[in-house]
Symmetry: C2
Subunit: 235 residues, 2 copies
């Protein structure tokens, strides 16, 4: 049995975006049952939590066999390695899936996140307005290269893998910006993947705790009093 | 036999920083012989190259068994999986190493790269000066959390793994900024790792092609005429 750490409170902009969604999706696709451990911002600073997640983020998992694991990419990879629905059986196919997992998180996500943060966390700041065209161009460049690769393919490789799962969650960051909609192929991909039963179950479970959030607690969560980067990615 | 793709020409700021260094280090540590395929900026735009590396970056590898692989993190993981010197034998130890590999490339590298790019690619621009304190704080926050985790440890976990290798190359990005020097523990870590014979051999082989670069070609490589992000990380 796996216990997954996720947020108890999330402001509306981050609902459907926090990285526990990736892990829930992988667990559903693999058919692995799991328990939730919901935490708040106050828990992330404790020594106990930092022993589990050194950067004070979610998600993390704890397993009955003693494994404690952090980083959504590594958790999804670990789950996928035990699940034929998320990873090919042959060594080269597994290596190719891992390549696209790293591409999603190291080549696509950084420019996408830098761009998305300008609008959400720095709207109205003069530097952000000046940076916006360059950040947009950097994100668009990677999206265009991804679209060129995909062409008419249904998946990043010849079948659905954990890499398609991660890439879908990365492209979700741009959904509200309208950038994804500029490539109809992306939007069709996103819709097809988000229609999968495992995604829908994962999203519903991710959102469930937030339905009962008091308004005043949401207001407190909105800013980041430490001045650091938020633990949750922007929409 | 593996063939590794690397740059034929690199401007001085990027020498010792391009990501083929990571792969060369892993190959040396594993004792795997390899051949080089040196490419220039003009090669990266071709359909043939994009079939190997969809984002027009280096490194990529081609193996005799037909495997073609991109993303430095995925290539290093693939090499490490066949090498006891880079990866523990037990499943949980391997998962922990993968967690730190993703942490290096998805939690540390993005804020470090965003900060480093301000000084190198946008020096003198007003928005970059305004953004600099926030970007520095974001990078420092992650470095402080990493330092807290490391404490007196020699490695990220209980032995050297491919994750220490990747983290070392990420922290090298900050070397010239002086930020790493603010934590003596980091500097000691870096020096110990960079004294390893496999690193020294990898660095020498990475630098060798650049010794004969003509000055005028360096000048051409300095800017990025496409307006996109450079394929090489900043110093």
């Amino acid at each position: 049995m796996i216990t997954l750490t996720a947020f108890r409170l999330v402001p509306p902009f981050a609902q459907g975006q926090v990285r526990d969604l990736r892990v829930r999706w992988a667990l559903e696709a693999a058919g692995f049952p799991y328990a939730e451990r919901l935490v708040g911002a106050e828990d992330l600073q404790t020594d106990g939590y930092r022993a589990l997640q050194p950067f004070g983020q979610v998600p993390a998992i704890e397993a009955d066999d003693g494994l404690r694991l952090f980083e959504s990419g590594a958790i999804v990879l670990h789950i996928a390695e035990g699940c034929p629905a998320l990873m090919p059986a042959d060594a080269n196919g597994r290596a190719r899936a891992a390549a696209w997992m790293f591409a999603a998180l190291n080549t696509l996500e950084p420019p996408i996140t830098e761009f998305a943060r300008l609008d959400f966390f720095h709207a109205g700041e003069a530097w952000a307005a000046a940076r916006r065209p360059g950040a947009l161009a950097a994100a668009q460049k990677r999206l265009a290269e991804l679209a060129d690769w995909l062409g008419d393919r249904d998946h990043l490789e010849d079948r659905f893998t954990a890499a398609d799962l991660l890439m879908t969650t990365v492209l979700r960051i741009l959904r509200r910006s309208g950038i994804v909609n500029e490539w109809p192929a992306f939007e069709a991909h996103q819709e097809r993947r988000e229609a999968r039963p495992a995604f829908r179950k994962a999203l519903a479970d991710h959102l469930r705790p937030f339905a009962t959030q008091p308004e005043e607690e949401l207001a407190n969560e909105r800013g980041d009093p430490s001045g650091g980067e938020p633990a949750t990615p922007p929409p």
